[in-house]
């Protein structure tokens, strides 16, 4: 190759790209499950899985940019104080543009298909006898009531393996009802009822937080909840003070 072309062997680039991709994939497989809250519902399971899939898909792309940057810095950087000589004139390369477009389109279509499919699963309701919970946000507490029982509580008890339908509203400003361990959230708006559903599938404690800014004590608008067995759930309901 003459210096005029300024072409250099690409081996270094491919090695960099491969190493960064492998590292990225490794992190992608490990991090979501490790960093995100313990999964306690079907939705959260899907959330973490999607996080892994998107990260794995993104790893080679990010690696491409990093590898190209490092490679260009190593291969073509010019550190003189005077202006560098002219470089080869490359105004167009239709093949490169077309393959770049094709690759990014394929990737986007994949993400879209995954996303739309996951969305359908996410929103799907089994339709079988869901437990209804009325959720009301007010500055700055959550309250939960169970229609048909006169039970009202500031802690959220849910039975395992039964679909729950949350009907969410607010007494004052907009709040964001978010079950951190279940991958579901929806705004609580005054004068409107919004719904979400999920099926808790793991026993234990979880956290409810407000994720919409709602004034002075927004940071403290959280509460704990428990997924319990159906039997324990019924005895908890029965033990609650009845509000008429």
């Amino acid at each position: 190759m003459s210096d005029q072309d300024n072409k250099k062997p690409l081996k270094l680039f491919f090695w960099l790209w491969a190493i960064i991709t492998v590292a990225g994939v490794a992190v992608s497989l490990w991090a979501p499950g490790y960093l995100m809250p313990r999964s306690m519902s079907n939705n959260m399971h899907l959330t973490i899985l999607t996080m892994v899939v998107f990260s794995v898909a993104a790893a080679p792309v990010a690696a491409g940019v990093y590898a190209a940057s490092i490679y260009m810095l190593r291969t073509w950087s010019y550190r003189g104080d005077d202006v560098p000589p002219p470089a080869p004139v490359i105004r167009e390369n239709n093949k490169v543009v077309a393959s770049w477009l094709l690759a990014s389109t394929v990737l986007t279509v994949f993400l879209l298909i995954w996303g739309l499919g996951a969305l359908a699963v996410d929103n799907s309701s089994t339709g079988k006898n869901p437990l209804v919970v009325d959720v009301t946000g007010q500055q700055w507490v959550w309250s939960f009531s169970y229609p048909g029982t006169h039970v009202e509580s500031n802690q959220l008890y849910l039975p395992e393996n039964r679909e729950v339908e949350f009907r969410v509203t607010s007494d004052d400003v907009t709040h964001g009802f978010w079950i951190v361990n279940m991958g579901v959230q929806v705004d609580a708006n005054p004068g409107t009822i919004t719904t979400i559903h999920t099926t808790p599938n793991r026993l234990g404690e979880f956290t409810v937080r407000c994720e919409q800014f709602c004034g002075l004590n927004h940071s403290f608008m959280d509460t704990e909840g428990f997924v319990v067995s159906t039997q324990n759930f019924n005895s908890w309901l029965a033990a609650q003070p009845q509000r008429s």
Partner: protein, 621 residues
């Protein structure tokens, strides 16, 4: 070659003109305060003082008084006023307003020379970054440890809103303000903007709006978040009225600037400056101006409605009166998403320009560069509801909005193609602009990928409203746009001052900011993944370590920015002289002396090819 206007100035300020010749920023502030007081007085004397809206009505009138007084005091109405009296500006008047032979004083005046306006924008941008940065440090200091109360919680809540809005303004003007005004007209061979007085009007309206926004902190603050959603915004005091007026004034400013920019580029290009020969940066400015014209009026409408709701018992956003907060949210995000690209496109255009000049190669696939910017601008109008996936509004539209949002990654990916394609096989001159360009690429890929996560509804159902979102858009704004803005500053600084921005300080600054960004915002991603919501004043012990890291990272960014500020100020008069064309570029702004004279060109230039033929000896090098 480097004759300066200052040196030419032999104190021949044209005489006559009376009061109008004494107007400057000082008289504007005085007139603003006087009018605010007058309007306050009139409101008190005439309005019914019983009932809740009284305070808001008075505040609205007072704020309007400030704006009108400021405009009058700076001299914004002198032209129309004299025209009405049948005494239009004389040539001497026009020269006076252009700042001829006036030295430093012109920077404090309603000056029409586009280069003066450009420098004024540099100062405005620095002030905004300063204010927003101090607020950011207060926020991060408050979050250094769980249960820390560095600032009172109510004040903290105002700080997050004002930090947000101030920084958004800073980002909007960071590239388009200084360089869209200073270099863009020269780049296309124009002697000034199409409407020089409107140019000054847009700058000073922005200054007046910033005054209102900062005053908000003194009148009860804005403890409702910068998105000022309804109904929470109703719980804010008169700071909210000032905020709404800020936005109305700001929209006037951007609209005037947008019309001016587009008209200039459509009608004032010199002979031979075809659309395909325009330096690529000017395309970025053009797209941003057009997009801003489309987007910002939504914000004006939203804030006008909020003022009416607060003062006049309308109920556009009040659910008990038949309105809905969702309307406000829609209007806000119809502005809010395109706004991100109004911010991004000038920076990307500047980076394309820098990549070409610094690697001594033409922009790779000019058509792709322009097309990707246009595609992004167009698509950005169709994605606003992705901010409302979890609001409960119109769940049916979730799929379609997810589709449009994810398609955006295609034109965004083309930005990388153009940048890498331009640098590839070049002779990449490692100077300050190039260093910040590489920093941009490293950060922008993270910004882009995390944006795709958030566009996916099942993921957004977990990540929305968390620190993950905050980290994502800070990678966009701090990691990408700020890096682009600093690259542009380092690139065109010699054209303004005749001196290089200090290379050594600039490099130290780069490493502080670059490392600081990674530490701050990577840790913030983890806070969000672990479940920490945004806009928290206080948090539980499980978020301790990542927040500590973010705070330390933020201090690191601050140190870097202070170093950059020192470099910017000290290089202005004492930097290493650069000559008129330090990067040996071919576009027109480098062909004129530094600093460029009034009206830029002695002889109107004629263009025969685009500015990227670095292999040929240019005629006027």
């Amino acid at each position: 070659m480097t004759t300066t206007l200052e040196r030419n100035a032999t104190a021949q300020i044209p005489k006559g003109g009376g009061l109008a010749r004494r107007q400057n920023f000082g008289t504007a502030v005085v007139a603003g305060v006087v009018f605010a007081y007058l309007f306050w007085l009139i409101a008190h004397l005439t309005l019914d003082s019983t009932g809740r809206p009284f305070g808001d009505q008075v505040a609205t009138f007072t704020g309007l008084g400030w704006l009108i007084g400021f405009w009058i005091g700076i001299g914004a109405f002198n032209g129309p006023f004299r025209w009405l009296l049948g005494r239009d500006h004389s040539h001497a008047d026009d020269m006076y307003y252009a700042g001829q032979n006036m030295g430093k004083a012109r920077y404090w005046k309603f000056t029409t020379d586009h280069k003066v306006v450009g420098v004024q924008y540099i100062v405005v941008t620095m002030v905004l970054f300063g204010v927003g940065g101090i607020l950011a440090m207060a926020i991060r200091t408050n979050l250094i440890a769980p249960g820390n109360h560095f600032v009172n919680q109510q004040v903290y809540n105002s700080f997050i809103a004002i930090h947000g809005m101030v920084m958004i303004l800073a980002m909007i003007v960071a590239v388009a303000g200084p360089w869209g005004n200073f270099v863009m007209p020269i780049m296309i061979g124009a002697r000034d903007m199409a409407f020089p007085r409107l140019n000054a009007l847009s700058l000073w309206t922005l200054v007046a709006a910033i005054g209102l926004l900062v005053t908000t902190l003194a009148v009860g603050g804005l403890p409702v978040g910068w998105v000022v959603m309804d109904p929470i915004s109703n719980q804010a005091g008169i700071g909210m009225d000032f905020f709404a007026l800020t936005i109305i004034a700001f929209t006037v400013s951007t609209t005037v600037a947008g019309v001016n920019t587009i008209t200039t580029m459509m009608t004032m290009r010199t002979k031979g400056m075809t659309l395909e020969r325009m330096p690529i940066f000017t395309w970025g400015v053009f797209m941003a101006a057009a997009l801003g014209l489309y987007a910002f009026p939504y914000f004006l409408v939203a804030e006008s409605f909020q003022i009416l709701d607060r003062t006049s018992f309308t109920s556009f956003f009040v659910s008990t009166g038949g309105g809905t907060g969702w309307l406000q949210a829609n209007l806000f995000w119809l502005m809010g998403h395109p706004e991100v690209y109004v911010i991004l496109l000038p920076a990307v255009g500047a980076l394309f320009e820098i990549a070409a000049v610094m690697s001594r190669k033409p922009v790779f696939s000019y058509r792709t560069a322009v097309g990707s910017m246009a595609g992004l601008a167009g698509l950005s109008a169709l994605v606003w509801a992705h901010h409302m996936f979890t609001s409960g509004w119109a769940p049916t539209l979730g799929g379609p909005f997810m589709l449009t949002t994810e398609i955006i990654s295609i034109p965004t990916g083309l930005f990388f193609l153009v940048l890498i394609g331009t640098l590839w096989r070049g002779h990449i001159w490692m100077k300050l602009p190039t260093i910040w360009l590489f920093g941009f690429m490293a950060n922008f890929i993270i910004a882009g990928i995390t944006g795709i996560y958030l566009s996916d509804i099942p993921l957004d159902d977990q990540l929305h409203g968390t620190m993950f979102v905050t980290a994502h858009f800070h990678y966009v704004f701090v990691g990408s746009v700020l890096f682009g803005a600093i690259a542009a500053l380092a690139f065109w600084y010699p054209k303004v001052t005749g001196r290089y921005l200090n290379e050594y300080l600039g490099r130290i600054s780069f490493w502080f900011v670059f490392v600081g960004v990674q530490v701050t915002f990577l840790a913030m991603f983890v806070s969000g993944l672990r479940g920490m919501p945004r806009r928290y004043a206080s948090y539980s012990i499980i978020f301790e370590h990542t927040n500590f890291a973010s705070t330390i990272g933020a201090y690191t960014i601050m140190i870097g920015m202070i170093i950059l500020g020192v470099a910017l100020v000290t290089s202005w008069n004492k930097g290493e002289p650069s000559g008129p064309n330090p990067w040996q570029a071919n576009s027109l702004e480098w062909m004129v002396p530094t600093p460029p004279p009034l009206e830029n060109f002695e002889v109107q230039p004629v263009i025969t090819e685009d500015p990227y033929n670095f292999d040929k000896e240019m005629v006027r090098r």
